[in-house]
């Protein structure tokens, strides 16, 4: 019990940042819920009389939501710590290590879900709803979302094409799956609970039986490696060393889920005008994720530097070219899919046309933001990355709206293009004085996350 409690505590408080996020989340959730109870029902700008201004009401509404988000991400260490211990020898020698670690993971997800469900229930406490049902629904949705979200964090934190691909795939499931249960209050909760039960049972069984499964997995991997062959091809040394040698694995991996989703949406009859915004949002996320591999480039380029007779400026040019070759494949597939899905889902031509430009910009921006990671990430880099993402998402929203004037969209695209050139210039300058003592692998992993 002591070990389980300690592990859970560490997941939430393992680093100073996580301690802050978790505490802030807990505080925001509790204070936000208390405010909702204390204040009379908020009108939310519906025109009914209210003691609070719209901004104050928005703050009261937002506080518990921010609390849930912070508390959920506060346990970000769960996937990293779980994966590290699970793959180490410690798990074999720690008393009841496997069972305790598994229990701690389950308890953390449950704790996160219960916290979210409690806050959501408080949200509705002043409204005429059956609070028991609200709690059940919120718990089910939170549990599914939290389970998937920690898997996403683990996959994306691993780095590499397949990790990012799988992370993106699960992220879509994480975002899409609960929507149905939130949007349609009459939907049965049997499905999310069944999904959770199946996933956790499979995970628990494989986790507990890992020592016995290890040999079989090793043999399967060996056989698979024999089938797919080496990622190295003669003449592709740069791509091999930088990690951009297999763009088609990621491109194909992106294509299949999008194609399936398009067909399903078509079957369900979901077409424009309700669809463009979230649909383009997913494409943009995909485009950003596929290019985020660039954040590993500085670390990986050391081997290239030692072997090639390039100056740092030439190194940057060659690495940039390598990423553009890689991006051409992944972005090309995304653009084709956007055109095809736009046709199938009857999206407006303007959205598809500008969407293609936006995807290219998202890919370029993501690549160059990755390439500026040549040392410890400072607050300027973090602000730049967050601002870029916000700008891209805002562009998606404006671009998808039929009310937006074409000149506004063109201005947005122009602004993002200028930003791309600025970020590229920053990256070029940083690579000009690249210091491999400062760009250790773990920093790049953090950047990717």
């Amino acid at each position: 019990m002591k070990a389980i409690a300690r592990l859970i505590f560490t997941y939430y408080t393992g680093t100073a940042l996580l301690r802050f996020i978790s505490s802030a989340g807990l505080l925001a959730g509790i204070v936000g819920s208390a405010l909702l109870l204390y204040f009379p029902p908020l009108t939310g700008g519906s025109g009914n009389p209210s003691r609070l201004s719209l901004a104050q009401e928005a703050l009261v509404f937002f506080l518990p939501v921010a609390g849930i988000l912070c508390f959920t991400f506060g346990a970000s260490l769960l996937p990293a710590l779980l994966a590290r211990l699970a793959t180490s020898h410690y798990l074999y020698v720690l008393p009841y290590g496997r069972a305790k670690l598994l229990t701690s993971a389950f308890a953390t997800v449950a704790l996160t879900a219960v916290f979210a469900a409690c806050v959501v229930t408080m949200y509705y406490s002043m409204m005429p709803f059956a609070l028991g049902l609200v709690f059940q629904r919120a718990l089910a949705v939170s549990f599914v979302t939290a389970s998937f979200l920690y898997v996403v964090l683990w996959l994306t934190g691993k780095g590499g094409n397949i990790g990012l691909l799988a992370g993106a795939f699960v992220l879509i499931a994480t975002l899409v799956l609960p929507l149905r249960f939130i949007a349609m209050p009459s939907t049965s909760l049997t499905i999310p609970w069944t999904i959770c039960a199946v996933l956790w049972t499979v995970f628990a069984a494989s986790f507990l039986l890992a020592p016995r499964l290890k040999a079989s997995v090793g043999r399967a991997r060996h056989a698979l490696a024999g089938l797919t062959g080496s990622s190295y091809r003669g003449g592709g040394e740069i791509d091999f060393l930088i990690g951009t040698a297999r763009p088609w694995a990621l491109a194909a991996g992106q294509g299949v889920p999008i194609a399936i989703a398009t067909v399903l949406l078509h079957i369900f009859g979901l077409t424009a005008p309700s669809l463009p915004s979230p649909w383009l949002f997913f494409f943009t996320i995909m485009s950003v994720i596929s290019s985020a591999l660039a954040s590993f480039a500085a670390t990986r380029s050391r081997a290239l530097w030692l072997r090639a007779r390039w100056t740092r400026a030439q190194l940057f040019t060659n690495v940039e070219s390598s990423f553009w070759r890689y991006n051409c494949c992944t972005l090309g597939v995304l653009l084709l899919l956007l055109v095809w899905s736009g046709d199938v889902l009857e999206m407006p031509t303007r959205v598809v046309a500008f969407g293609m430009g936006l995807l290219a910009l998202a890919s370029a921006l993501s690549t160059y933001i990755g390439l500026i990671v040549t040392a410890r990430i400072g607050w300027r880099d973090a602000v730049l990355a967050v601002t870029t993402m916000v700008a891209l998402m805002t562009a998606v929203v404006y671009l998808s709206s039929p009310a937006t004037a074409t000149t506004t969209i063109v201005a947005f695209v122009g602004g993002l293009t200028a930003l791309t050139f600025v970020v590229r210039e920053i990256a070029r300058r940083r690579w000009g004085r690249l210091d491999w003592m400062l760009c250790r692998g773990d920093l790049a992993v953090r950047a990717s996350a």
Binding site: A3, L81, Y92, V93, L94, P95, Y96, R219, R440
Partner: protein, 292 residues
């Protein structure tokens, strides 16, 4: 006599049909400090992993505290300490948090010992693991293996990344752990002088088998260098019983002999018509002779 902590019989391991360890048998009694020697790929790590139950043996078996090592119960695991060849620490945590996480798994954890050692070894408990040097990480890894005062401590090349001062401190600590006669230490190392200084039992793995096991004095008595000096030229092909290698240079010859016994000296002197001098070897010399 107390029962052995570790007992292996006919232990063997193959990976994908490739034999890496064959027919190894041994026991480790309380108070034993065993040094495992062998060239790269001799099977040292495999042997230690089999003892700890990380992988099932292909043949034979290992008993740890009387249990099949592959199916160790939690209570038995609480009596084992292990320091892997490469540290398996969590980069995001501070040293203190890393210790806290591992300590929480054990019913008995000696905080005082860990704090004292961390001070002596200059491990900053407030520092994040990812900012530590390789040596610092290794020291922390060793602290994690020692903190619960295990009955059996198994270390896979624990000092490879330590500087000489830290190595000496660590070895003193190992002696302290084993000094009460109730604990055992099994460690592999390429630094033969450390094994010589520390171990009271030596295991030498060669060609996937246990080539030698026993106490260090027996090993030194068993494998010696014999110098022969004669007034006449010695025969071109010298036949010396159990000689690992022979070098002849006119009237003198030097041979490393395994299984040497004192009574063999007179027989050899008569056989060669030479004066025989026996030289005892250091462990490093023995190891080199065995692998020549």
């Amino acid at each position: 006599m107390s029962s052995p902590y570790i007992a292996a019989h006919g232990l063997g391991k193959s990976f994908s049909g490739k034999l890496v360890l064959a027919d190894v048998s041994f026991t480790v009694e309380p108070g034993d400090v065993v040094g495992v020697l062998g060239k790269n790929g001799a099977g040292k790590t495999t042997l230690l992993e089999l003892v700890l139950g990380f992988t099932p043996p292909t043949s034979g078996g290992v008993q740890l505290f009387g249990y099949d090592s592959y199916r160790l119960p939690g209570a038995a695991k609480a009596r084992i300490g292990f320091v892997p060849q490469q540290d398996e620490l969590v980069n995001q945590l501070t040293a203190a948090d890393q210790i806290g996480v591992i300590a929480s798994f054990y019913p008995k954890w000696d905080d005082e010992l860990v704090v004292r050692l961390s001070r002596e070894w200059e491990v900053d408990l407030g520092q994040r693991v990812k900012n530590m040097s390789v040596g610092q990480r290794q020291k922390l890894s060793i602290l994690l293996g020692l903190g619960h005062k295990p009955d059996v401590l198994i270390l896979d090349e624990p000092v490879a990344s330590l500087d000489p001062v830290a190595r000496r401190q660590f070895l003193e600590q190992i002696i302290e752990v084993a000094a009460d006669g109730k604990r055992s230490v099994v460690f592999s190392s390429h630094i033969v002088s450390d094994v010589e200084r520390l171990a009271n039992k030596i295991w030498i793995l060669k060609d996937r088998r246990m080539y030698w096991q026993g106490d260090f004095d027996s090993l030194k008595d068993s494998i010696v260098r014999v110098h022969a000096r004669s007034t006449q030229p010695l025969p071109a092909s010298l036949s010396i019983l159990n000689a690992l290698n022979v070098q002849r240079n006119g009237t003198t010859a030097t041979a490393t002999v395994q299984g040497w016994r004192a009574e063999m000296q007179d027989g050899l002197a008569q056989q060669l018509g030479a004066e025989i001098e026996v030289e005892q070897l250091t462990l490093e010399e023995i190891f080199l002779e065995l692998h020549r």
